[in-house]
């Protein structure tokens, strides 16, 4: 498994017809196939300079040439490209959930999903910036310029490990400080942290980012399989809870989980974003071509 690529070639070929879809228009977010209300591709006149051999003739100010018989070149200020930012949860809780009904844990599933989205963006000439996080925002990987840049991104994803405690507040603060430009922010996580992540996500949206929240959950995260007395240990903090699990307890647990999921979904929809809950027991193909297309996260 360690030597296998995250996505095989056949699956990648199927991804080529997809596009990452966002609703808002962002300055500098070019190269994609989303419509923008900014004409001219976001170029602004900056200055003139003398023409030199090899310069683009299309930028010559022909009017000035007719009047002054000298060739001047128009210079424009080009807006910097704002990439699609993909926040990938690498906390220890993502390493759980392999035992029931799924072929992999949440972290592997999330990395594969991130790789698929990265490939979809690269095919459409979008720039994708993968930003792993757990307690802090870690160094990311920016990929752009076509599908041939996918390999480097995939290797970056394959080298990630799940560890640490999730701290959404700290991560969002660091993200907003480091990347002030607004844009599409895709968050792939189980959103399970000790503090409440809902406020942090709301901050992210309040700063003008469009959210695409992809909640990855294992079946045992929603429906615990155990009965009887169980000694539970939290993967991230190592906290213990000795509990008597019966049908009633399991039912209450599922209700609490569903309520939490509904709140995450509400944050995304309230801020004109997208939300998709993806169980690891689903095949990645079904998750992308089924769940994510239905939620119009990709088209």
């Amino acid at each position: 498994m360690a030597n296998e690529p995250l996505l095989d070639r056949e699956f990648l070929e199927r991804l080529e017809r997809l596009t990452i879809h966002w609703q808002r228009s962002f300055a500098g977010l070019v190269g994609g196939h989303n419509r923008s209300r900014f004409s001219g591709g976001g170029q602004e006149f900056l200055d003139h300079r003398h023409f030199h051999q090899g310069d683009d003739l299309r930028s010559v100010n022909w009017r000035a040439f007719m009047r002054l018989d000298k060739m001047f070149l128009k210079m424009f200020q080009i807006e910097p490209r704002v990439p699609v930012r993909l926040l990938l949860d690498t906390s220890a809780s993502m390493g759980t959930g392999e035992r029931t009904g799924s072929s992999s844990d949440k972290f592997t599933f999330a990395r594969r999903l991130a790789a698929a989205l990265c490939y979809v963006g690269l095919v459409r000439l979008d720039t994708i910036q993968i930003l792993p996080f757990s307690t802090d925002l870690r160094e990311g990987k920016t990929s752009g310029g076509g599908r041939h840049r996918y390999r480097a991104a995939a290797q970056f994803l394959e080298g990630l490990e799940s560890q640490g405690v999730t701290d959404f507040h700290k991560v969002v603060r660091e993200f907003l400080n480091e990347y002030p430009q607004r844009g599409l922010v895709i968050v792939i996580s189980d959103f399970l942290d000790e503090a409440n992540c809902e406020k942090a996500l709301q901050y992210l949206a309040d700063y003008g980012n469009e959210l695409m929240l992809l909640q990855i959950w294992a079946e045992e995260d929603r429906t615990p399989p155990w009965t009887g007395e169980v000694d539970l240990e939290e993967a991230e903090t190592g906290g213990h809870m000795r509990i008597q699990v019966d049908e009633e307890a399991r039912r209450r647990y599922t209700e609490a989980f569903d309520a939490f999921t509904a709140r995450i979904k509400e944050i995304a929809l309230r801020n004109d974003g997208k939300y998709a809950a993806i169980p690891t027991s689903l095949a990645l193909e079904d998750a992308i071509f089924g769940t994510m297309i239905r939620t119009r996260s990709i088209a």
Partner: protein, 655 residues
């Protein structure tokens, strides 16, 4: 219910312990279950404390029940649980495998019916057929039954103890080899019966005799079989043609330096057979005799071998037949020894006839003037005799000396007086030198009366004293016989006492030379050697010695010495002056075929034979126990997600 390895109490105790341990483990296992989860936040109901409890409660009673049931079945399997009563117990069987000498014969074309692994290779012997039959029977026996193997030839010998592991029995069967003796069926079956009764535990099973059932005439006449209700005979077909040497004997030819050799040949086949007997001495052919032997009959072939030297007589039988063991016999004959008598006499013609009458005496006559007191060589000390005829040497010689009528003088043989015409001669009885001498009115002209020294034996006496004495040297190797009269005097020439006395003196001086030698080759096993009544009475002088010189146990009954030789070897029977050498190089052969009683079971048990019914249910109990534990593991093991049913519609809905 019957437990072979555990009593009911033991079983219940053991099961209780195992069940208690299992329940404890069960509870411990369920209470100490640890799970690593992504979060604990959804287990805590707001406003309520977390439900930390430790209830000792069996959550899955069916799982526990399956575990207990599976372990109970495994315990029952270990205890070799059986239904039924005594008839279902394991049984003790005894295999009596015939390992007599005849089992070394080549097998005929026919095979043991129904036997497994019947050898059909060339050169297979009856022993191979018997082994195949025994193994075939053993495979029909339930594995729980105990089996013992007894090898039966002249002696019944247990080859194994009571074995549950039948592989050990098969190994012992395959290691069995034909012996040198004939089958002692009575002893074998009686031994098997006794050992089966002595086994104590279990039910007596079968006693299985595997072999052709060939007995000696002695065994057939004294057949004393026990009452065996479960005797099975796995007969081995031995219908082969064979003629063999029964014995090879050699006796010293009277008056000659030669051996009379007699070979007895027996035809064991069902048709007359012509065979050639070839005799060789020291690899030099001595003669060939062709004899025609009727079916079941016996013929003799005699030879004369002229030799004084020791050597080996080989008798061979041609043509070769199915059993090669009795086609060859070797007989070791001893050297014909003689006594060297040096006679110092001035009138040798008086003594010469007496000494020349026996070819075992080589006489050398010398005048008394040539006497030299030379010490005889050590190797010829026993076979050299010095006869001093009526003269007193200056220095008395050493070695065996017969001193005839010594004149008076200093030194040995102190003469007290000289008596004319002595009367009433009395011979001292119970002396080897006076054997057969009874005559009292011997016509002696003159006799010297000796003054016997301490340790001298009186041989003959008159009223005035001893007239013949004998003495033995301190080392016991040399003897001196002194006669106070002249036995070769004209008056005594025709008396019987003279040669008798001389013969006694010669035997006394050189007993090995004058011992009657009768050598014979017989078969190993029980050997009977005839002895005279006097020899039988003197049991202390009887000796049965093995080739290595060790004494063999023997019994004297009806003027016969009986002893047993299990291996082919040379045995000497010494009775006084008589020595008989038995070269037991021939295998002991049979005379008649045993006919089993009508009630006996025959052959390897058929597939529907009661013997084959296995009463073991422990393999089924063990398998059932394992299946139950597997079921429990499959449905209730940790890998099983209790109550979790994943279906795609539910997932879709949840997503």
């Amino acid at each position: 219910m019957l437990f072979l390895n555990l009593s009911l109490g033991q079983f219940l105790g053991l099961f209780s312990a195992v069940a208690a341990f299992s329940v404890a483990l069960y509870l411990l296992d369920r209470t100490r279950r640890k799970e690593v989860v992504a979060t604990l936040r959804f287990w805590v109901v707001p406003g309520q404390p977390s439900p930390v409890t430790r209830r000792r409660k069996i959550q899955q009673p069916i799982s526990l029940l399956l575990q207990l049931l599976g372990m109970a079945l495994l315990l029952l399997a270990l205890a070799e649980f059986q239904f039924g009563g005594r008839q279902s117990q394991r049984r003790d069987h005894v295999i009596v495998l015939d390992t007599s000498a005849w089992m070394g014969a080549q097998a005929p074309g026919a095979q043991v019916p129904g036997a497994a692994q019947v050898p059909n290779r060339p050169g297979a012997t009856l022993m191979d057929l018997a082994k195949a039959g025994a193994i075939g029977w053993l495979r029909a026996v339930p594995s729980a039954d105990r089996v013992m193997l007894i090898r039966a030839d002249g002696l019944a010998t247990p080859a194994t103890a009571w074995e549950n592991d039948h592989r050990n029995i098969i190994k012992a069967i395959l290691e069995s080899q034909p012996g040198a003796t004939a089958l002692n069926l009575s002893q074998g079956l009686n031994f098997a019966s006794q050992i089966q009764k002595a086994a104590g535990s279990g039910v007596s099973g079968e006693i299985v005799y595997v072999g052709p059932g060939r007995l000696t005439a002695r065994e057939a006449n004294n057949l004393n079989l026990p009452n065996l209700p479960a005797l099975r005979v796995i007969a081995v077909n031995d219908d082969v043609a064979n003629a063999g040497l029964r014995s090879l004997g050699a006796r010293r030819a009277p008056g000659k330096d030669a051996w009379d050799v007699l070979a007895r040949i027996h035809n064991y086949g069902g048709s007359p057979r012509a065979v050639s007997v070839t005799l060789a001495f020291g690899n030099a052919p001595e003669g060939t005799r062709t004899v025609v032997i009727p079916a079941g009959g016996e013929q003799e072939a005699s030879f004369q071998v002229n030799t004084r030297a020791a050597g080996v007589l080989d008798a061979r039988l041609y043509p070769k037949d199915a059993f090669l063991g009795d086609n060859y016999a070797a007989l070791e004959i001893p050297q014909m020894r003689s006594v060297h008598a040096i006679v110092y006499s001035d009138q040798p013609d008086r003594i010469r006839p007496a000494l020349a009458s026996d070819p075992r005496v080589i006489a050398d006559f010398r005048p008394t003037a040539q006497f030299k007191a030379e010490a005889p060589k050590a190797d010829t000390l026993l076979d050299t005799l010095l006869i001093l005829d009526r003269f007193r040497p200056a220095a008395f010689p050493s070695g065996n000396v017969l001193w005839i009528d010594p004149p008076s003088g200093p030194g040995a043989g102190v003469i007290k007086e000289r008596v004319d015409h002595p009367k009433e001669i009395s011979w001292t009885p119970d002396q080897p030198l006076t054997t057969g001498l009874r005559v009292r009115d011997l016509q002696i002209d003159q006799a010297s009366v000796f003054e016997p020294a301490t340790g001298d034996m009186r041989l003959a006496s008159i009223d005035k004293g001893a007239i013949a004495i004998a003495s033995v040297s301190s080392d016991g190797k040399s003897h001196i016989v002194t006669l106070g009269f002249d036995p070769f005097a004209p008056a005594l020439r025709y008396e019987l006492a003279t040669p008798l006395l001389l013969a006694n003196v010669l035997r006394y001086m050189a007993p090995d030379v004058f011992r009657d030698i009768d050598v014979g080759t017989q078969s190993a096993g029980a050997v009977v050697s005839p002895v005279t009544e006097e020899q039988a009475a003197g049991k202390n002088s009887l000796q049965v010695l093995s080739e290595a010189g060790a004494s063999l146990p023997f019994n004297v009954r009806d003027r016969q010495v009986e002893f047993f030789a299990g291996d082919a070897s040379r045995v000497r029977v010494i009775a006084g002056n008589n020595e008989r050498v038995y070269s037991l190089t021939l295998p002991e052969m049979w005379d008649v075929k045993w006919t089993p009683p009508a009630t006996v079971r025959h052959g390897v048990p058929a597939w529907n034979d009661a013997l084959r019914r296995s009463r073991d249910i422990w393999p089924f109990l063990a398998a059932l126990g394992v299946v139950l534990l597997l079921i429990e593991w499959y449905f209730y093991g940790r890998h099983a997600a209790a109550g979790l049913q994943i279906s795609r519609p539910k997932l879709e809905k949840a997503a």
